[in-house]
Symmetry: C2
Subunit: 267 residues, 2 copies
C-alpha cells in the first residue's frame, strides 16, 4: 500500500483531523485498469457534489488528478481517495474557512473470491440504514452501518449482504448498488433517503439508457427483490456482478451482465 | 493541546485507521476539575458499553486511566479520548481480532461564551437525526449530522441548536442532552432510536432520583418542548446549562439548575 497525505509520501494524519473525529469527510474508491483510473471524471464529479453538500470549500480537481497519477502503480490497482474537512479547533462547528486534507492511497488489485466469478451469493442483513435525506447519496465517511452489516457474516458462504432502510425499503448491498430485473426491465432503489449513489451504478444506468431502456429508480420492497427475474450488484471494482443466489435460492444470471462488462471494457 | 496516540507523545494516526476511514470508533469528552477527571468511571463504563455494541475487543480500562492521568495538565482541562477499531485491510469487514487504537488528548479549559452564563439561547436545527436503534445512545464517531447541524448558525445570537429525528421527535441539542420541565416534572427524550446517552444526562437523572423525583424518559414532540416551563441542557463540560431563550422567546430559568450545580460540585 502506498499513500500520500496532503501530497507527502508515507504521511500520517493529524489526530485532530475532522475525518477521524467526526467522519467529516468523503471518499472515492477508484479502479485503475491498464494504468488508467476508470470513470475518474465521474468520481471527481461525485466528490465535488459531496463537498458541496457538506459545505467544504471547492476542491482542486487538478491537484487530485496529479496525486492519483502519482500514487498509481502497475497496470492494475485500486486507488482510494479521502478528503476531510482538515483539522480545526475542538467541537462540531466547522472551521471557516476550512482547509481540506487529502489522503490518496493505492493497493494491489485484490484476488477475486474463488467462488465469486460465477456470481454473488447474497442474503439479507439485519442491520438497517438510517434515513437522512441531507446525507443520502453522498459517499461520506460515516460508515458504521456498513461496517456492522459486514460484520454479520464470515462464513465463506455469503459474498454480499443486502440492506434495507429503517422503513424496510431495500437500498443496496454493503459495498455495492443493487439492480433488479422486474417485468423485463432493470430497476434500482431510489437513494433520496439513504445509500450511496455509486459511480458504477451511474455507468450501468448510462449503458441501459444507451440501449433505449432507461433504468427506473423507485422504492423497492424485499418482496420485489425476492420476485425479481435477475439481480445485479455494481461497484467501482467489480463492475457488474450478477447475483446467483439469494438466501440459498438460485437466481438466474442475466445476459445483460456480460454485455455490460463488454461495454465497460470499451469505455 | 497535548496528545498521546497509542501511548506515544505527539503521535500521529495511520491513514488506514478505521476511525478515519469509516468512523469506526468511539469517543468520550471528559471534564478535568481540580486535577480530577469528573465521572471517569461512568465515562469508561459508557465507552465499554459502546465497544460491546460495535463488537470491539474488551478495552484495557487501567491503561486508559493511566493515559488520561498522563495527559492531564493543570487543575482544569478537557480530555478527549478516542478509541478506534485500529487499522486493517481495505474494506468494511472488521478485522478479527481487531487491535484497537487509543488517542488521548488534553485541551485548555475553554473560556465560556460571554453571554452564556445567564443561560443558553437555543433554536431549532433544520438538520434531522437518522434513526438506527443499533447505534442509538452510543457515542460513536459518525457525527456528520451534528457537524451539519452546528454549521447552521454562526450569528453570535444562538448558543445551541435543538435537533429532531427523522420522525419529528425531539432528541437533543447538537452537543448536549435536553431536559424539559412538564407539569412540574423533568422529562428527557428517549434515546432508543438515535442520540447520545450523555454522562451528565446520567448524572442529572441520578440527582433527580436522589431527590425522589426520577426523570421520565419519553418520546417528546416540538410542542412539548415549546410548552415546557423550563429547559435544561447537559453535557460533560457545562454540567447543567439552563435555557433562557427558545427561538427568541424567553424561558424561565429553573432553580434546579443551581441546585444540581451545587450537587455536582460536591460529588
Amino acid at each position: 500500500m502506498h499513500v500520500l497525505v496532503d501530497g507527502l509520501q508515507g504521511g500520517q494524519v493529524d489526530p485532530l483531523d475532522r475525518g477521524l473525529n467526526y467522519g467529516d469527510g468523503l471518499f472515492e474508491t477508484i479502479a485503475v485498469l491498464d494504468g488508467r483510473p476508470r470513470f475518474l471524471d465521474w468520481h471527481l464529479e461525485r466528490l465535488a457534489g459531496g463537498a458541496g453538500r457538506l459545505g467544504f470549500p471547492a476542491l482542486d480537481a487538478a491537484l487530485l488528478r496529479r496525486e492519483i497519477a502519482a500514487i498509481t502503480f502497475g497496470a492494475r490497482c485500486i486507488v482510494k481517495l479521502i478528503v476531510t474537512r482538515g483539522s480545526g479547533p475542538r467541537g462540531y462547528r466547522p472551521p471557516r474557512p476550512a482547509s481540506t486534507r487529502r489522503i490518496v492511497a493505492a493497493w494491489d488489485w485484490p484476488a477475486p473470491p474463488a467462488s465469486a466469478a460465477a456470481g454473488a451469493r447474497v442474503g439479507w442483513c439485519r442491520m438497517r440504514l438510517g434515513r437522512n435525506p441531507a446525507l443520502a447519496g453522498v459517499k461520506h465517511l460515516n460508515r458504521l452501518e456498513q461496517v456492522l452489516a459486514r460484520a454479520e457474516w464470515d462464513d465463506g458462504v455469503m459474498d454480499e449482504g443486502l440492506m434495507c432502510d429503517e422503513g424496510g425499503s431495500v437500498i443496496s448491498a454493503t459495498q455495492a448498488n443493487l439492480f433488479a430485473k422486474l417485468a423485463g426491465r432493470w430497476v434500482t432503489p431510489r437513494l433520496d433517503q439513504c445509500g450511496v449513489a455509486g459511480v458504477m451504478r451511474r455507468a450501468f444506468c448510462a449503458w441501459q439508457a444507451e440501449q433505449g431502456s432507461p433504468v427506473e429508480e423507485r422504492v423497492l420492497a424485499r418482496a420485489d427483490i425476492e420476485s425479481a427475474s435477475a439481480l445485479l450488484l455494481t461497484n467501482a471494482l467489480a463492475g457488474a456482478w450478477p447475483v446467483r443466489e439469494l438466501e440459498g435460492r438460485p437466481v438466474p444470471v442475466d445476459g445483460d451482465c456480460g454485455e455490460f462488462s463488454a461495454w465497460l471494457a470499451r469505455v
